[in-house]
């Protein structure tokens, strides 16, 4: 009989009964949370979602379900020996609740207009089996698109049928790897789970987990990070007399020793890292350089072996980029588009509208500021044993280096946030678990629950806030599919607002898709859509005899949410009379007009 068996045999029946009772109570909390969330979701209707998003128009069951899931998670963490199985179940339930809501409410249509563009590349690969449009930047970084095209071809199913579930799949996979990485970095049993729980709230808003190369590359980066931290850590260096060595020794004070490895293991690890990195390089333009910044920072402090690893990675990235540099140059103004980090960090310029947009933007700004400030606090509090936090701190702040070179079309700051968030979550989790608190009062766990809930609901406001804009109804998708099935190839397709599912067809490049240049934030001369003479003249200048003009619920929501394009409502009401548009398709959410030019 094992020690555990002896202990169990010796335990009074009442204690075992109480243990079972507690397991059932914790499990009950997960099931109640999931049940309340599921019932709440069935009561949500897209039409009822306003400018402030899903959370503000959600019912009590939906909100209480999420609270119960997070509360159950923290209650289990607070136990003297938290059970991994229940924590894992809680995390899975939480991730499902966060990321399955929108696909369920919107009938499985993918969120974000740009996802349809990705589906178009996937369909093109599956249909033609080759790069059909070499001038398209997506075709030149094909790893993710080719992989999904293969899945789609093997299943005989269009990627549109499953693309909506990508955020859920990516987040579950990310959480698995993050749990592994965090366990490797900290000995504490609670911190890895708490960090993953926090992370799920922190990154909910940043919207980088949809079917996209960056979500795929991020997942692969986590795998790469595990391999590097498990097998390629430098053995503990002996401090020599030099000033640099003494500085390094001070920085690594308290660091857990590198795991023991053999030469063969390190060789296999380098091959794995090289292969994974090559696929990342072939999938996404920016991610390889964010990774280089992280690996380079670790290398600078001599924490990795072999020392030439960073050179190998840089060579892979450079060799892939060189023949394609023209595309980077034309899309992003070159690898170094600007050396002004503040400008590069300003994000996508919104025409900050009052109401929903302003509120959601403010919430996520506070969330981001809180995340980085708390992380800084966590590092400062461990200043005497910096080695304990050195690796996560380097990986949390190294992504900022990207801002010195690129704005990535205004998106660089979101990638910085994404790549920084896991390590920030780990450092904040450590801070919460190590802060000195009065022992008799459960302040630590109340504070932890408060921080987790604040991160979750702030993140969810960012994710669900613009949902009426970002998500599309099934009828909008049907309308788009009708358009590509019925408009003759070569037709001019016109969108008054850039928020409609388009380009998802395999032959997307056979159409001339034009979005009216009607956004004042472009800064140049922009088109006032209320001025119908200008609109007509702009369309006829495009050189087509006919045009298909689409208006939809999602465009109207976009125009109202962002306050642009101005004049959208006037344009819609005047199309039949002033522009002589003939309705060729109409349903509750979309109308398509055919316009003829003399």
């Amino acid at each position: 009989m094992s020690t555990v068996d002896h202990a169990l045999a010796a335990a009074p029946a009442t204690r075992i009964g109480s243990l079972n009772g507690r397991i059932q109570a914790q499990l009950g909390l997960v099931l109640i949370g999931l049940g309340a969330w599921a019932y709440g979701v069935t009561q949500l209707r897209p039409a009822a979602v306003g400018d402030y998003g899903l959370l503000t128009s959600a019912n009590t069951f939906f909100v209480l379900g999420l609270v119960a899931l997070m509360a159950g998670f923290v209650v289990e963490l607070a136990r003297s020996s938290p059970r991994g199985s229940l924590l894992t179940l809680n995390l899975i339930a939480l991730i499902v609740a966060i990321h399955a809501t929108i696909p369920i409410v919107y009938g499985g249509t993918p969120e974000y207009a740009w996802v349809y563009k990705h589906v178009g590349i996937i369909s093109s690969f599956a249909h033609y089996g080759r790069i059909a449009d070499p001038s398209n930047i997506y075709d030149q970084w094909p790893a993710l698109f080719a992989a999904v095209a293969a899945i789609s071809s093997l299943a005989h199913m269009n990627a549109l049928s499953f693309a909506a579930w990508a955020p859920l799949a990516f987040e579950l996979a990310d959480a698995l790897l993050l749990l592994g990485i965090f366990r490797l970095l900290v000995g504490d049993r609670r911190a890895p789970y708490l960090a993953v729980g926090l992370y799920e709230g922190l990154i909910a808003w940043v919207g980088q987990d949809y079917l996209s190369p960056q979500a795929f590359a991020f997942l692969l980066w986590l795998a790469m990070a595990y391999v590097i931290l498990r097998w390629l850590r430098a053995p503990d260096a002996r401090s020599t007399g030099s000033r640099i060595a003494r500085l390094r020794a001070r920085l690594v004070t308290g660091m857990t020793p590198a795991p023991a490895t053999t030469r063969r293991q390190r060789l296999v690890a380098v091959v794995l890292v090289g292969a994974i990195y090559f696929v990342i390089v072939a999938a996404h333009q920016l991610t390889p350089y964010v990774i280089l910044a992280g690996v380079g920072a670790l290398m600078l402090l001599d924490l990795l072996r072999p020392r030439w690893l960073v050179l190998l990675l840089a060579a892979i990235a450079g060799a892939y980029l060189a023949p394609r540099y023209g595309l980077i140059s034309s899309n992003f103004g070159g690898l170094f588009s600007g050396g002004n980090p503040l400008q590069n960090a300003s994000g996508s310029h919104g025409t900050y509208n009052a109401g929903g947009e302003a509120l959601t933007a403010q919430v996520v700004h506070y969330l981001a500021a809180a995340m980085w400030l708390l992380t800084l606090g966590a590092v400062l509090l461990r200043r005497k044993t910096l080695g304990r936090v050195l690796i996560p701190a380097l990986l949390a702040f190294s992504p900022f280096l990207i801002l010195g070179a690129q704005s990535y079309g205004g998106e660089a700051i979101y990638r910085v946030y994404l790549f920084s968030a896991p390590w920030c979550a780990l450092l904040i989790a450590g801070l919460l678990l190590e802060l000195r608190m009065p022992r008799r009062l459960p302040i630590r766990w109340l504070l932890t629950a408060g921080v987790c809930l604040a991160a979750l609901f702030a993140g969810l406001q960012g994710l669900y806030g613009p949902v009426s804009v970002d998500a599309f109804t099934r009828s909008e998708l049907r309308a788009s599919q009708w358009l590509y099935a019925h408009a003759p190839r070569g037709s001019l397709l016109v969108l008054p607002d850039d928020n409609f599912p388009t380009l998802q067809a395999a032959d997307y490049s056979s159409y001339d898709l034009q979005v009216m240049p009607s956004d004042p934030q472009l800064g140049q001369t922009w088109l006032d859509e209320g001025n119908l003479a200008d609109v007509r003249s702009w369309m006829s200048d495009l050189g087509h005899q006919t045009a298909y003009l689409v208006v939809s619920r999602s465009m109207r929501a976009d125009a109202h949410y962002f306050g642009a394009p101005r004049g959208y409502d006037e344009l819609v009401s005047e199309i039949p009379s002033a522009l002589h548009g003939a309705v060729v398709y109409h349903d509750a959410d979309t109308t398509i007009y055919r316009l003829t030019f003399g």
């Binding site: 690969f125 599956a126 033609y128 089996g129 080759r130 790069i131 094909p142 790893a143 993710l144 080719a146 992989a147 095209a149 293969a150 899945i151 789609s152 071809s153 093997l154 299943a155 005989h156 199913m157 049928s161 499953f162 996979a173 698995l176 790897l177 749990l179 592994g180 990485i181 366990r183 490797l184 795929f216 997942l219 692969l220 986590l222 795998a223 595990y226 391999v227 498990r230 795991p259 293991q265 296999v268 794995l272 292969a275 994974i276 090559f278 696929v279 072939a282 999938a283």
Partner: protein, 116 residues
């Protein structure tokens, strides 16, 4: 512990390879076919590699199996696109290769067990 983790990976690789091939080739519905294709994408190639490596941690072992599988699938698919030689069914070969690797791993484990 280490051996059981990598052996478990080998069993998972074998099972998923058989299931993936069966579902991709003979699924009665498109959704079952999708499950087969996703299985093929997410497990066999990674299991073929990770059944020889112990990541030292269960979540990491599963996560690396998934990530290595996706890496191999993406690489193989991208090569087919670059060469304009699109034959997605050839990816079933990944499941075949995984079965060989996983069986070999289990045989090595059995031989080592018998020797002890």
């Amino acid at each position: 512990m280490s051996r059981s983790r990598s052996e478990l990976t080998a069993y998972a690789g074998l099972l998923s390879s058989v299931l993936a091939i069966a579902l991709v080739l003979g699924a009665p519905t498109a959704w079952l076919g999708l499950i087969g294709a996703l299985l093929l994408a997410c497990v066999p190639a990674g299991a073929a590699v990770m059944c020889w490596i112990d990541a030292g941690e269960n979540a990491a072992q599963a996560g690396l199996t998934l990530a290595v599988s996706l890496t191999v699938l993406a690489l193989a698919s991208a090569i087919m696109i670059w060469l304009a030689a699109w034959e997605p069914r050839a990816l079933l070969g990944l499941a075949g290769a995984a079965m060989i690797s996983c069986v070999l791993r289990l045989r090595v484990a059995r031989t080592a067990g018998a020797a002890r």
